[in-house]
Amino acid sequence: MSGYVAAIWQCRYFWLSLVKMDLRTRYRRSILGLGWSLLQPIAMTTILCIAFGTILHVDIPHYAPFLFAGLATWNYIQTTALSGCQCFFQGESYIRQHPTPLAVYPLRTALGGTIHFLIALGVTLLLAWCCQGLDQGDSGQKLPAQAEERAAVSGPEIDLAERQPDLAILRNGGQVTSHAHSSRWTWLGLLSLIPTVILLFIFAWSLAILAGFANVHFQDTQHLAEVGFQILFYASGIIYDIDTLKNEAIRQLMNFNPLVSIIGLVREPIVAGHVPTANMYAVACTTILIAASAAVLTLWRLQRRLIFHL
C-alpha cells in the first residue's frame, strides 16, 4: 500500500502536467475562461432566485448562497463521478505505453474537479459575503418587521402549503436559512472548510476510481450514473432544505442520504456560519471511508487486469 502511494508520488510530474493540460485546453477555447465553468451554477442560481423570488417570495439574500453552495458541491461530486467514467479511456494511450499505478488517471480527473470546486467555493463565499452585507445593512429594523410580516402572512401561507405542498417546500427553503439571520461567519466555521475540502477530494478520487473501473467493465455505467444522479439531485436537498419538509417520514428517509450531510459540510459554515454538526461529520466521514475502502479494494483486485478490458 505505502509502496503504491510512493509510486503515485514518483510520477507526480506526469499527472500534474496532465491536470495542467486539461485546465489549459478547457480554458484556452473560451474568452470567458474560468467563468465558463461557473456559468452553469450562476445561471441556475439566478433563474431559481428570480423564479422563486417572484412567485414564492423567497428571501433571496439567504436563498442565493444556500443554493449556490449546494450547486457547487453537487457539481463537484457529479462531474468527478461522471467524467471519472472516462478516465481510463482518456489515459489509454499511456496505459498501453508504460506501466504506471492506475490510480493516477482517476486522480487526474479528481484534481481537475477539485480546482473547479475551489473556484466555485470562492465565488460562493463572495456571494454569501455580499448577501450578508446586504442583510446586515437593514437587519436592524427589518428583523422584527419581518417577523411580524411572517406572522401576518402565515394565514395564506398555510393555505398555500395545503394546496401545493411541493411549492411550500421551496418557499420554506428560502426561509430555512433564516436561522442564519443572527449568525455571521465564525472563524472556526470558515476553518472547517479546509478539512472539508480534503474530505471531498478523497471522496471525489474514490468515486472517480470506482466509476472508471465500472465503466471499463460495463459500458452503460455512465448512462446509468447520469440517471441516478438526476434522481439524487432532487433527493439531496440542493434547491430546498430538507429540514423544512412537512412530511416527517420523507424527511427521515432523506436524512439517510449521505450526500445531504456531505453537502451540509460545505453549506453549514457558509450559510449558517457555524461548524457542521457532529452528526453531519459522522455520516459524511463514514460514507467517504466506505467509498475510499471500496476504491482501494477495487484497485487492488482489478488493476492488473484492467488492460485486458480496455
Binding site: C11, Y13, R96, Q97, H98, H217, R304, F308
Partner: protein
C-alpha cells in the same frame, strides 16, 4: 545492470465476442444463466522462456499473430502474465504503436515533457534533454504544432528521440522504425549501435529482416505463441526464410 528473464510465461486473453458488456446484460445473464456473449480464449503466449542481459540485442521475428508484440508488452510490464514469472531489472523505455502516449492537442515540446515524466524524469532532468531530443528529431518548428497534425513519420521521429534520449537500460521497439524516412532510419540504427556501446539491452520486433540482421545479434522466432527457435540472428533469419519459402504457394 539490465536483465530480462521470462520463466515459462503464458498469457491467455479472454475476449468477448461482442466487445464489452453492459450492466443490464450482465444482470440479465445472471438471472437466466445463459451466455449470449461468450468469452473466446486466445493463447497469445505459451511457455515462453527467455533470458537476456546487458549488451544483448534481441530481434523477434515471426508471422502476423505469432505473439511478437504481446511478448514485448509482457516484457514492458503492460500485460501481466497468466502463468509463469517475469523478472525485469532496469529502467524500461518502450516504443510500441506510433501515436501511443502522445497527447494530440498538445504540441511537440509539451509531449516531450509528458513522455519524459511518464518515464520518471523530473522537470530538471528533462530540461537538460529537451534540446537534444529536439535536435535529434530534426522537427524544428513543427515542435510548436499540436501533435495531432503530425504525419506518422514525424511522430516516429519524436517518439524515438524521446525514448532513446531518456537513456533507458532496456529499450523495447515494436516495428515502428520502418515508418521513418531513409535518413532517419540510418540515424536510428546509428543510435541503436551507440546505445549498445554503453551496454544496454534492446529488444526489437520487426518484419524487416535486413535491418533486424543489422541491429540485432540474437534472433527469436515466434510461432503461434511459442518460441520456435533462438540463436544467432543470421541463423534464425535463415531458418525462418526457408520455412516461409517452403510454405509459399507455387505461383508466388
Amino acid at each position: 545492470m539490465a536483465r530480462i528473464e521470462l520463466d515459462k510465461v503464458s498469457l491467455t486473453f479472454k475476449i468477448r465476442q461482442l466487445g464489452r458488456i453492459t450492466l443490464k446484460e450482465f444482470l440479465v445473464r445472471q438471472m437466466f444463466r445463459r451466455s449470449v456473449n461468450p468469452f473466446i480464449e486466445v493463447r497469445a503466449l505459451q511457455d515462453v522462456c527467455l533470458e537476456a542481459r546487458d549488451g544483448e540485442r534481441l530481434g523477434i521475428l515471426g508471422h502476423n499473430g505469432a505473439g511478437k508484440s504481446t511478448l514485448l508488452k509482457v516484457l514492458a510490464g503492460i500485460y501481466p502474465p497468466s502463468h509463469g514469472r517475469r523478472t525485469v531489472e532496469g529502467r524500461i523505455s518502450s516504443l510500441f504503436d506510433i501515436a501511443l502516449g502522445f497527447e494530440g492537442d498538445a504540441n511537440g515540446w509539451e509531449n516531450i515533457a509528458y513522455r519524459g515524466y511518464l518515464q520518471g524524469e523530473t522537470p530538471r532532468s528533462i530540461r537538460a534533454k529537451v534540446k537534444e531530443i529536439a535536435d535529434f528529431s530534426e522537427l524544428g518548428d513543427f515542435l510548436n504544432m499540436p501533435v495531432r497534425y503530425y504525419s506518422a513519420g514525424m511522430m516516429v521521429r519524436l517518439a524515438f528521440s524521446i525514448a532513446t534520449a531518456i537513456k533507458p537500460e532496456i529499450l523495447l521497439v515494436d516495428e515502428v522504425l520502418g515508418v521513418g524516412d531513409m535518413a532517419f532510419q540510418a540515424k536510428a540504427q546509428e543510435r541503436m549501435r551507440e546505445m549498445m556501446a554503453t551496454a544496454q539491452l534492446i529488444v526489437v520486433v520487426s518484419h524487416d529482416l535486413i535491418s533486424l540482421a543489422k541491429v540485432c545479434d540474437r534472433g527469436i522466432w515466434m510461432d503461434h505463441g511459442r518460441v520456435r527457435q533462438v540463436g544467432p540472428v543470421n541463423e534464425v533469419i535463415a531458418a525462418y526464410t526457408t520455412f516461409v519459402k517452403g510454405h509459399q504457394p507455387r505461383a508466388a
